[in-house]
Amino acid sequence: MKKGRFGKYGGQYVNENLIPVLIELEEAFERYYPTPEFQEEFKGLLRDYGGRPTPLYYAKNFSKLVKCKVYLKREDLLCGGSHKLNNALGQALLAKKMGKSRLITETAAGQHGLATVMAGNICGLETEIFMGVKDMERQASNVKRMKLLGAKVTPVKSGTGVLKDTVSDTLREWTTCSRTTYYLMGSTVGPHPFPEIVATFQSVIGMEIKEQILEKEGRLPDAILACGSGGSNALGAFRSFIDNKGIRLYFVEGGGESLSADNSAAAFQLGKPGILQGALMQVLQDEHGQIKPSKTRAAGLNYPGRGPEISYLCEIGRVKACYAFDEEVFEAVKVMCRTEGLIPALETAHVIAYVLNHKEEFDKDEVIVLNYSGRGDKDLETITRYFYGS
């Protein structure tokens, strides 16, 4: 496969100004990442700052409902409350090695923005976060967190004020300052080498799953499931298992209200290949090639594109593309609360909902792993408003 490509997906579809910095980035990643110094610093921070390894938890009560053995890979316990820090720490270290003095990024749920400013502070880098005005309202508490940590949070009003518009604005900003500034991409999207870099930093998830499940069960799991939009937590969990064809992989995207027009974020159901924000990938778009806004209650899944690698893996059938509707997702939150005492992020609740509503796909002797990508603190308002109306 050509470098930067996953099948036909991927590439570097950005304006000329950014190409040199992408080449510089690719070189820097290849130079620094494999060195023992980088590995030691990265792994040290993941362990001591981030709290890795995160546990693989056998959810006994939840398993009873599903009628098979369900393990949760507890990325919610990672510092910051989601898997995002794996990537943010890795890239912030890389930015420091490259001599950049500033990080910029975009965020939707705020989880990635939070992870970025945390990593920035650790590495002594300034941080500016672009966030859609609508998301700033929906995820107000994460805005407070980012500001408190010292990030500049810049509201993005263009478009509909959600993630897609914010990525565009961050790319624009990067065009003006790429010599000094590092764009810390938040998911396995964007131009090469971002999808590869992000997946590599996230792949620690799957490596741990492998070791942990072997220790607990003496065998590999029958299936691994993850939610996603760009695909970073999913690829992080899947990468160690892709060659092992016997292991079923499920990718659950945001179904939104319904699969009817403009009420969904289910790009694998409703989209087609297209170029958005630097890469060829599966994208929600109209028949003319205009990108459609996505819709889901989970801010972190509210992106019309699927990263190149997950697009490819779903296209070739290695990963099954699934979805869950908002209503099912809220019910899944409640089930996880009551059975295991855990409030999942709305994003994470998609994978829980899928399992609860497709029990028949899992045999009673099977062992399955849900990548539990984040905790629901950021969604607390939304969830309580949904259930109690205030």
Binding site: Y13, V14, E16, P20, S158, G159, T176
Partner: protein
């Protein structure tokens, strides 16, 4: 008229070229048609005919808003093509350069798209999110259908890549003057001038400089520094967007500006002829 011919003619007239950039359909089709005619009647040598895209990552706020307005009004690539057809039917002769983001030709099929714009009378295409590394298909289809593929060079472009870009340039080369996106700017970055000179080392293909040009002096400066012309876009949109209800009322002001910028292009060219760095 093809690009070469136009540049030949301009050289003969000892003029720098001016190419205004317009997003078609903003705020509606009729206005765009009038705008283009006004621009051409008052000095535009080429028209950069933008197909609006939902996510124009290389465009600044002015053109983002332009795309948004056009799309909201129902603009489509098919209607853009019809627009070119109308312009040609009404006798517009200057070369037309289509600009759009790669997803638009991609979903239609690159070949189909190029054949269609060629058929209605466009001469070239600019795809701002398509660097040379990704351009094989577009280049092949461009050759096949006789559409120039215009590449861009930027201040950040390394010497190696500049050579490569210059090597495959056809029609003209688009020099992005600033590290940034489209949008009118008060002062013209030094980097534009430097980059024009850097490019000149590698190619004789005409060079048009764009991004941030909004005044006569800007145009004069880039052309005198070695460019064959200047591109301006947001500067025009900034005029009519102040009066979106009756944008036609702003056409006289736009006419003034295009005259000024064209005059800058001419002045710059004449200065350059007395310029020792000119070759």
């Amino acid at each position: 008229m093809d690009l070469e011919e136009k540049f030949w003619e301009l050289r003969e007239r000892r003029e720098g070229a001016h190419m205004p950039h317009v997003y078609y359909g903003d705020p509606n089709e009729e206005f765009s048609l009038k705008l283009i005619r006004t621009l051409v009647e008052n000095g535009a040598d080429f028209i950069e005919f933008g197909f609006p895209f939902s996510d124009p990552t290389a465009d600044g706020p002015t053109f983002q808003a332009a795309c948004e307005r056009a799309l909201k009004k129902g603009m489509t690539p098919a209607k853009c093509i019809q627009g070119i057809k109308k312009l040609r039917r009404s006798g517009l002769e200057v070369p037309l350069v289509v600009t759009t983001y790669y997803n638009i030709p991609y979903v239609t099929g690159i070949g189909t798209f190029l054949s269609e714009i060629k058929k209605v009378g466009a001469q070239a295409i600019i795809v701002p999110d398509l660097p040379v590394e990704e351009a094989d298909v577009l280049l092949n289809e461009g050759k096949k259908w006789g559409v120039h593929v215009i590449f861009q060079a930027a201040p950040t472009t390394t010497e190696d890549r500049l050579k490569k870009i210059a090597g495959i340039a056809s029609g003209f080369l688009y020099v992005i003057g600033v590290e940034g996106v489209t949008g009118a700017r008060e002062s013209l970055a030094d980097s534009t001038l430097k980059l024009v000179n850097r490019v000149r080392k590698y190619t004789d293909v005409p060079v048009l400089a764009g991004f941030g040009i909004s005044r006569r002096e800007h145009a004069a400066a880039v052309v005198s520094a070695g460019a064959d012309g200047a591109i301006a876009g947001s500067a025009y949109a900034e005029i009519y967007e102040k009066n979106l209800k009756n944008p036609e009322e702003t056409l006289p002001e736009i006419a003034q500006l295009v005259k000024q910028i064209k005059r800058g292009c001419v002045e710059g060219y004449r200065q350059r002829l007395g310029n020792p760095y000119d070759h």
